[in-house]
Symmetry: C2
Subunit: 107 residues, 2 copies
DNA sequence: TGTAAAAATGCACAAATATGCATAAAAACA
DNA sequence: TGTTTTTATGCATATTTGTGCATTTTTACA
């Protein structure tokens, strides 16, 4: 029986990763540290939005950051995040194949 | 560069796991198949709510279900979900230790 | 000290999610 | 066919989450 407090923490942690804009940022950070100013042009959203998403992931312990002059650099803190992303990628792709197979049977 | 469609799918998949009630259900399903009627008394929420959460996870391909008489049984479809849960558990516990350490330094 | 670049924050609003209550539908069986 | 058990759904509402715009803060440097 898992403790209810831990459930809430794990939920928040997963949610912090699950949101599409944040997920996209994580994929972009896979090949190393980037400053916010390099992340923003890759995204379609407002600077304020990206700033908030980055802060949120930092607060959750998913990202580390440090300032260099006017720039703030972000990187993925725990390498296990990469394993998690890879796992999800595998599972979703398997699910896509499953759906295609089922669609074929029905056709 | 990961495709935007895939990002959305992975986001939905993760969100389906991340919600606290659903996460709790997944932990409960770790030791095998259970019918909805066995899950409900473990949860504090309304039956309708649990039913919807189960349906949602089924739709996302996280759970499989089959009916036996009036009862509907659910189980985790992909074993990799266990690895994912274990990973998150490790990461969150590591983060908890980190926070405790930082708190100690400040004290 | 004035200006520029990068990042953070206040605020209002929009959109997505989760919830309970009441009720309906599905299945088994007397 | 009527009753019971289990699960699903319609509906309204509450809560959470994400968003942009405008403004402010932080830092460097002319």
């Amino acid at each position: 029986m898992i403790e209810s407090n831990l459930i809430e923490l794990e939920s928040s942690y997963l949610k912090a990763i699950a949101q599409p804009t944040r997920l996209k940022i994580l994929y972009f950070l896979k090949d190393g540290e980037k400053c916010q100013c390099k992340i923003i042009p890759r995204m379609k959203e407002d600077q304020s939005n990206i700033s908030r998403h980055l802060t949120h992931m930092k607060d959750m312990g998913i990202l580390d950051s440090h300032r260099e002059g006017v720039s703030v650099y972000y990187k993925i803190r725990d390498k296990r995040v990469f394993s998690l992303l890879a796992l999800v990628d595998q599972m979703v792709k398997a699910e896509i194949r499953e759906r295609a197979k089922r669609a074929k049977v029905l056709a």
